[in-house]
């Protein structure tokens, strides 16, 4: 929660602000991860958060819990089982037909109830449309702090959680603490954390809670659900190879050079924020803090300068190849391989060379 913070005059000025927790909040223990179950599927970000939650719980010497909310049935059971296998020691679950599809009211009520009853010190949610919708309501109800889109979380000596996130449009990072209220809430975007290993057959305790609501008391009704017809961009976050372009391409027409290389590599394509803002590509193709976070094996960035907001979205890539005319472009600070050159000439050459190379290899098979 950094919305309206003024920039501190000197960076570490607020370091001494420590507040003793009240006795009430001292009883808050454990790390919770909200397991996002929508339309029968658990969003992978929930497993990624269990991996991260595990580290926090170990550091604190407490238990890691998953929270599964949904309609009773196989998918809820599978979500509970999955939570154990990805590292949860216990699962709190509310299963009620009213929770079949996500709606703010019953989910926020259920979540708030659970927190007030079982008192976690940390609550993590995926920064998806669902997670963000829910987290804002829950945090406001509990009057606690919520840090959005964290890229890193760490436990201090005094057991408080420092949540780091990009700030000021992604030009800097900041570390945020929730001082005297619990739980400390944070949302984390998909793919920011790596997927933990799944330990098949691992199990844990189950705590069942009831929702205690009637359909009549819920104002908002779901009339229909229209699944997306095309999911062509849905794979961007999970793609093994991604090619992206930035303002260095000069003109919207030149974006086709990115698409051509992507096509030869069987890769997904995307672009930096300015391209989306200028309407060169659709927003679902935006790569970076406010777009998609990616963790591919190979990421090729053409004509992208590499602002922090972009950097945090691609840092998980195993190999970053950057092409930029400016040898001082920040992208060369975090890319693995660099080409100082004009993307407009380098991209077609790369496309052709990859095409030839892969064709030769195919012929040799």
């Amino acid at each position: 929660m950094t919305e309206a913070k003024p920039a501190p005059a000197a960076a570490p000025a607020r370091g001494k602000m420590k507040v003793e927790l009240s006795d009430h909040f001292k009883t808050y223990k454990d790390v919770w991860v909200f397991i996002e179950l929508e339309r029968g599927q658990v969003h992978p970000v929930s497993w990624e958060l269990l991996g991260e939650g595990r580290k926090l719980a170990n550091k604190l010497g407490v238990e890691l819990a998953g929270v599964v909310m949904g309609a009773p049935g196989d998918s809820a059971d599978a979500a509970v089982a999955g939570a154990y296998e990805y590292g949860a020691d216990l699962v709190y679950t509310i299963q009620d037909p009213l929770l079949a599809d996500y709606r703010n009211e019953p989910f926020a009520r259920g979540m708030t109830d659970l927190v007030n009853t079982y008192k976690p010190e940390i609550l993590l949610l995926g920064a998806t449309t669902l997670g963000r919708d829910l987290a804002g309501t829950v945090a406001t109800t509990l009057k606690t702090g919520l840090t959005a889109d964290c890229t890193e979380m760490a436990i201090d000596d005094d057991r408080s959680m420092g949540a780091t996130r990009p700030t000021f449009g992604g030009s800097l990072l900041c570390t945020i603490y929730t001082l005297n209220v619990r739980p400390q809430m944070a949302t984390i975007r998909p793919r920011v954390m790596s997927m933990p290993d799944r330990e098949a057959g691992r199990t844990g305790r189950l705590v069942v809670h009831s929702l205690g609501m009637q359909e009549d008391s819920i104002v908002t009704k779901i009339l229909n659900y229209i699944p997306d017809a095309s999911k062509e961009d849905a794979h961007l976050a999970y793609a093994d190879v991604v090619v992206a372009g930035g303002m260095g391409l000069g003109k919207p027409e030149n974006f086709k050079l990115v698409k051509e290389l992507a096509s030869v590599l069987g890769a997904e394509y995307g672009g930096s924020r300015p391209l989306v803002q200028k309407g060169w590509i659709e927003s679902a193709r935006q790569i970076g803090q406010t777009g998609k976070t990616i963790r591919p094996r190979l990421y090729i960035a053409a004509g992208i300068s590499g602002a922090i907001q972009h950097r945090v979205g691609v840092e998980g890539a195993d190999m970053i190849l950057a092409i930029n005319t400016d040898p001082n472009a920040p992208i060369f600070d975090f890319a693995h391989q660099g080409i100082v050159g004009d993307a407009l000439t380098v991209l077609p050459a790369l496309t052709e060379t990859f095409r030839r190379h892969l064709a030769q290899k195919r012929a040799a098979e």
């Binding site: 501190p8 000197a10 370091g15 929508e38 709606r103 449309t129 449009g169 990072l173 094996r297 380098v346």
Partner: protein, 282 residues
């Protein structure tokens, strides 16, 4: 219907600068704009007003200079504006911000009942997406985030039907008024005011509300004091130890560079070639 649209004046992130030495944000000279996400909500509110009649009031919390953003919203067609500005709001996090804005909306409602509140999906400087839901919770408004389309509004029955973006699909939701809506980007194109609008906007007196004027009696809930979160550290990310290995480009043709690049990539990561081969296969 009376609609309140919450907007925020933000530094144009495309032009934001970090002080190279102190690593602090240099706001000097950085132009401010209306948070771009807010404009989709403003336009949607204006369309509803044009269709059903009523009034659109734009509301912002910020320094006195934020009146320029309100005036801009007026020039786009909003009917009235309120600037919520008080020293006690300084340092507000999203919880304190939603408290201040919700208080102001409650105050507006005392004289002119508000049927709908619009907020941007998120801001480009905070990117939290928390203030909208926070206001909804505080005012017990039915919350509709990431709305792609407003299908129907029935003023007499006080019902609204919208299409809301969810992961992997669209929910068609119906709920009752009053409600709070955040619009998804790209769902409309904000209008450009006429010269008449411009003159009206330039002339409009924008009331500046202090915390007290907004009906806030407990300033402990505002600003730094009312914010459970605290920013302890602002910093530039540490540079990676090694910079990118540069492919030698001096005097080379693009094809030579491409060939050298492939060699370098495959030398650095032996399994990459296999990955690419598999990838390109399908």
């Amino acid at each position: 219907m009376h609609i309140v649209v919450c907007i925020k004046q933000v530094p144009d992130s495309a032009q934001i600068r970090v002080h190279p030495v102190t690593n602090t944000i240099m706001r000097q000279g950085v132009p401010t704009i209306i948070n771009p996400y807010d404009l989709f909500s403003l336009e949607e509110a204006l369309r509803l007003r044009d269709k059903f009649g009523g009034k659109v009031t734009v509301l912002t919390m910020g320094p006195p200079m934020a009146d320029t953003s309100l005036r801009k919203a007026l020039s786009m067609g909003a009917d009235a504006a309120v600037l919520l500005s008080d020293r006690c709001f300084a340092g507000s996090d999203t919880l304190a911000t939603s408290y201040a804005l919700a208080s102001a909306i409650a105050k507006i409602t005392e004289t002119e009942p508000v049927g709908m509140v619009f907020c941007g999906k998120q801001t480009i400087d905070g990117d939290t997406a928390q203030v909208g839901p926070g206001i909804a919770k505080r005012l017990e408004l039915n919350q509709l985030t990431y709305v792609e389309r407003i299908d129907a509004v029935d003023e007499t029955a006080r019902k609204i039907t919208v299409e809301r973006r969810a992961e992997g699909g669209v929910q068609v939701l119906s709920t009752s008024l009053p409600c709070l809506i955040t619009m998804l980007e790209g769902t409309n194109v904000v209008r450009r005011g006429t010269m008449e609008d411009m003159l009206r906007a330039a002339r409009t007196e924008i009331p500046m509300w202090s915390a007290a004027k907004a009906g806030i009696t407990d300033t402990a809930l505002c600003g730094l004091k009312g914010s459970p979160t605290v920013v302890k550290k602002v910093f530039a990310p540490p540079p990676r130890k090694e910079k990118a290995k540069q492919i030698d480009v001096t005097g080379k043709t693009a094809d030579d560079i491409a060939a050298a690049t492939l060699n370098a990539l495959f030398a650095a990561d032996a399994r990459l070639e296999e990955t690419l081969f598999r990838q390109a296969g399908h």
